[in-house]
Symmetry: none
Subunit: 157 residues, 2 copies
């Protein structure tokens, strides 16, 4: 959390430095303060959106499907958590598992969860060993059999 604040500080400092550089470089003395404020507003709006999305993802945890909550009647998911616990699969790993089952690439998962590609690879790798499979396609099959995919558990092929 404090790291986020730090990043914001650094970003602001960098932006300030950049603006000063522009001023020096092109000898522009009369850049209006409104211009500065506009730039900063734009920049920090983007930063804010990014932080907001990231925060939303962290707290809403999109993957494990709150969607399941909206279709509860079909899959009561009685012992999903029990199964997960039995296999030692963490929350984050389950999220990754769901996204894998939806056919996303590791890079896409990384983008969606605001993670590094390496992190996703770590999660999936741990996941595979816990599911005792070798490939992600097998992981999908296994997950379906175990009923670990709340949302697609309904895809009762």
């Amino acid at each position: 959390m404090k790291r986020t604040v730090l990043y914001y500080g650094i970003a602001l400092a960098l932006l300030l430095g950049f603006l000063k550089y522009i001023e020096y470089r092109y000898m522009v003395r009369d850049l209006s303060i409104e211009f500065y404020l506009g730039i900063v507003a734009l920049f920090f709006s983007g930063l804010g959106v990014w932080a907001g999305l990231r925060w939303a993802n962290k707290h809403a945890s999109a993957a494990p499907k709150d969607t399941a909550k909206s279709i509860v009647f079909l899959s009561p998911t009685p012992d999903l958590e029990a199964t997960l616990a039995k296999l030692g699969i963490s929350k984050r790993e389950h999220e990754v598992l769901c996204l894998i089952a939806e056919g996303h690439s590791n890079q896409e998962i990384a983008d969606q969860l605001f993670l590094s590609l390496n992190t996703v690879k770590s999660h999936s790798s741990n996941l595979f060993s816990k599911l005792d499979v070798k490939r992600r396609t097998q992981a999908i099959q296994r997950a379906k059999d175990l009923g670990l995919l709340s949302s697609s558990a309904g895809t009762f092929g």
Copy 2:
């Protein structure tokens, strides 16, 4: 969308006015530009976070509809061959598709069907373009939705 931009503009204008008012009210002449920038950064960070969260919510509520669609009915697979014909998927390609859905690697499929690895790759590649997907995991999803895995693939792992 443009309304959002408008709001941002208004917000910036209001903030500017507020700052000018402060300046006038308390006769503070030497408020550094960094101070202004800090205020603006803070303000628009918050605004950005808000917009980001709002955006996230909008898209989170949109997503479930897709998943719901896959649950809707247990499609009786009226005519598998008709679907295959419509998509231009040949018999051999369908075989490969089923094996892919079972989580086999290309090499395993090649061994099982007494084919070369290259051949399996050709089939799967053609398959992906016909299914309009990029990866085999997506192909599995698509195939399930289209009911192409009714017979053999099943859910046995």
